[in-house]
């Protein structure tokens, strides 16, 4: 698998590419060396990203990481400080928002409360001089697409949150914009609705073939919907990759921790050869890990183990860490345990065999040498 890390990027002058760019040639959206400053605060630093036509790209990160700022800069709602932005090969840095031809979906829906559903959805067409007869047909079609046919005469306040967001989606795609931008569109919805909308948005995006950029802080949304995920932290890109890449091969400790709450076990290399190494963990145990290159003895490393890879069932081979369960959450087929291993707490998400373990039970948490990720002292991935 292709490994995209920050260190790769710095040796490679080409910008990151998200999505399969082999088919389109011209990227749908191209950010080049973007800096965005609010006064002295740098919201975004050195952001370069190329997005292929028709792909679904998610900007993922904690609040304040700059993901929304990037989206707003593409929309023309925020001025970039340096760099350039192109949509379909056309530079848009100085193009006013109303000429950029982008569809925007907001977290709070932003439907016009004084206009009917019809007038809301038809809004973009009205400003593109589409004839009236055509507008009516298109609105009908768009409402069918978001599964709200016949709601033309209703007012936004008469619709539920999920329905409002579907109208907002119809409104944003009806005029066939070059890019569809969605800023945390699901955060205001309740959990059940959110999952339905996830599927629906993805389906509509595939049907229309529109290039979509989706901003979220929710890893599940990102993993389930995206062709490519751009993980951001503190105004910078941490990693770009497919959902599987960013989850299975996190480039940095931040990515490993942000996606899936991995256990981070710091330690030092105590022995190494060409195929692997032994790490003396700070919590006292020695573990064996696989390493693609020889590590120097005494190197500081962090062993990252996902809760799903940490097994508490007896008879697991490989590395074993003795500890005591401090909390147990029963989830049906599996359980999440918090285990105290010589003072550091690790989480294990383990299948239940027989009786679930209880608080205070002594356990051995085990994982295989190849089921962990190794980070160097700077938090970058070694293996």
């Amino acid at each position: 698998m292709h490994d995209t890390t920050m260190s790769d990027a710095s040796s490679d002058p080409r910008p990151f590419t998200a999505g399969d760019s082999s088919q389109g040639g011209q990227p749908a959206v191209d950010f080049r060396d973007i800096d965005i400053a609010y006064g002295k605060f740098m919201a975004v630093k050195d952001f370069s990203l190329s997005i292929a036509k028709g792909s679904f790209v998610t900007l993922l990160g904690p609040s304040g990481c700059g993901k929304t700022t990037i989206l707003r800069s593409l929309a023309g709602l925020v001025d970039i400080t340096t760099g350039q932005i192109s949509i379909g090969g056309r530079r848009v840095d100085d193009v006013p928002i109303y000429k950029r031809n982008i569809g925007l979906v907001f977290q709070n829906y932003a439907l016009f409360p004084h206009k009917s559903v019809f007038d809301n959805v038809a809004f973009g067409l009205k400003y593109r001089s589409v004839p009236k007869s055509e507008i009516a047909a298109k609105v009908t079609k768009a409402l069918e697409m978001v599964r709200l046919p016949g709601s033309e005469k209703k007012l936004p306040a008469q619709l539920s949150g999920g329905q409002q967001q579907r109208i907002a989606l119809a409104r944003a795609i009806i005029f066939e914009p070059e890019v569809l931008l969605m800023d945390e569109p699901l955060s205001a919805l309740d959990a059940n609705m959110r999952e339905d909308m996830r599927v629906e948005i993805k389906k509509i995006q595939k049907e229309t073939g529109i290039t979509a950029i989706f901003v979220t802080h929710d890893q599940e949304e990102a993993l389930s919907m995206s062709d490519q995920i751009v993980v951001m932290n503190a105004g910078r890109i941490e990693q770009i990759g497919t959902p599987q890449q960013v989850y299975d091969e996190p480039a940095t400790g931040f990515v490993a921790n942000f996606l899936g709450k991995a256990n981070m076990l710091p330690g030092t290399v105590s022995a190494a050869d060409s195929s692997g190494a032994t790490v003396a963990l700070e919590c006292g145990s020695d573990v064996k890990v696989a390493a693609p290159r020889a590590l120097a003895k005494g190197d500081g490393v962090t062993v990252v183990v996902r809760p799903q890879k940490l097994s508490v069932t007896s008879g697991a081979d490989g590395n074993r860490l003795a500890g005591r369960i401090v909390s147990a959450s029963y989830l049906g087929g599996s359980a999440v345990y918090e285990i105290d291993i010589a003072g550091s707490i690790v989480r294990a998400n383990s299948a239940i065999e027989g009786k679930p373990l209880a608080e205070g039970d002594a356990v051995e948490a085990g994982f295989e040498p190849h089921d962990c990720i190794l980070l160097d002292a700077q938090g970058r991935r070694i293996a």
Binding site: G76, Y98, F106, N108, A110, H114, Y127, A157, A172
Partner: protein, 317 residues
């Protein structure tokens, strides 16, 4: 106008739906207040309102049926004569029409002139917005009557404008500005403009700014986004301002008294003259009730279409 009205209605309905829903959930679980304590706490206000406002108005209403004997003397013999006089004498109707016209003119000018400062205060990136709002309230610190008197020093024969123009040789004799209808309208605007600006401002402040971003992203220039989003959504505030300005202007008495000539008297001055000049209390009471009912009807009509809560919001800004 019909268009505007439907929009107002829509807004009002939405609000009512919202608040009733909220109230249901609040009352179903627990009461926000203890009933007896609530009555005890509102009792002073209710008593004051009853004895100082409702009771006097009721007494005035009764007075309208009393018989006027001679200046300062009336008898409790019930009669419809006062009402008959009001309904048949076009002298009173003329006053009513003039009062309505001046009230409407004042409210309209306030709306046109006041919208822009409200918009500016709302739209500015200036850090100390509160300072701009404070400036709007500063005039209230000086007595309204003193502020009205100050116009005499500006518009009068020996006022600033006339003296300056005379000294510059632009005019050879003073312009007759004071004691005209123009002076009255000017004085009323001076008095009422802050109310209009605050009402419009509050209404603008309640607009979700992402709506404007949304409109722009779909192809609206700034001017078009204003027409499609900002203006229609600020109409309730504009309407509240219009109502407030109209009612206060139409009910004014001091401003026309001080700045208007005898021809510029409004209905309020007519009432004053009837009661204090002619000492005809039954007729004065009749005219007072007429003005009270008519302005009440205007407010009720407004409340029907927009909701009076908008005004309360504007006043508490």
């Amino acid at each position: 106008m019909t268009l505007v009205r439907t929009k107002f209605t829509v807004r009002a309905e939405m609000k009512m739906g919202e608040s009733s829903e909220r109230m249901n959930t609040a009352t179903r679980r627990w009461k926000l207040y203890d009933t007896r304590l609530a009555w005890a706490l509102v009792a002073p206000a209710v008593l004051l309102l009853f004895f100082l406002l409702i009771l006097p108005i009721l007494m005035m209403a009764v007075y309208t049926f009393f018989t006027f004997v001679t200046a300062g003397v009336e008898s409790a013999t019930l009669t419809l004569a006062n009402w008959q006089e009001f309904f048949t004498d076009s002298y009173y109707h003329g006053f009513l029409l003039k009062t309505a016209r001046i009230g409407a003119t004042t409210a309209f000018i306030c709306a046109v002139v006041g919208y822009f400062p409200a918009y500016f205060i709302w739209a500015t990136n200036f850090k100390h917005k509160w300072l701009l709002l404070l400036l709007l309230i500063v005039p209230f610190w000086i007595s309204f009557i003193i502020r009205t008197f100050s116009w005499i020093n500006i518009l009068g024969q020996q006022g600033v404008i006339n003296v300056t123009l005379l000294k510059l040789g632009i005019i050879s004799e003073p312009l007759p500005m004071l004691y005209t209808e123009g002076a009255v309208v000017m004085g009323l605007i001076h008095f009422l403009l802050p109310y209009m600006i605050l009402n419009v401002y509050v209404s603008l402040e309640s607009i979700d700014r992402t709506l404007i971003d949304a409109a722009r992203s779909m192809g609206c220039t700034n001017a078009q986004a204003f027409r499609e989003v900002t203006l229609p959504l600020s109409l309730p505030g504009l309407g509240a301002g219009l109502l407030l300005c109209f009612v206060l202007a139409a009910g004014s008495y001091v401003t026309p008294q001080l700045l208007g000539g005898s021809r510029d008297a409004l209905f309020g001055n007519l009432i004053y003259d009837t009661i204090m000049g002619q000492l005809n209390w039954p007729m004065g009471a009749t005219l007072s009730i007429v003005l009270f009912v008519l302005l009440g009807l205007v407010a009720a009509a407004y409340s029907r279409y927009v909701g009076l809560s908008q005004i309360v919001k504007g006043l508490s800004a």
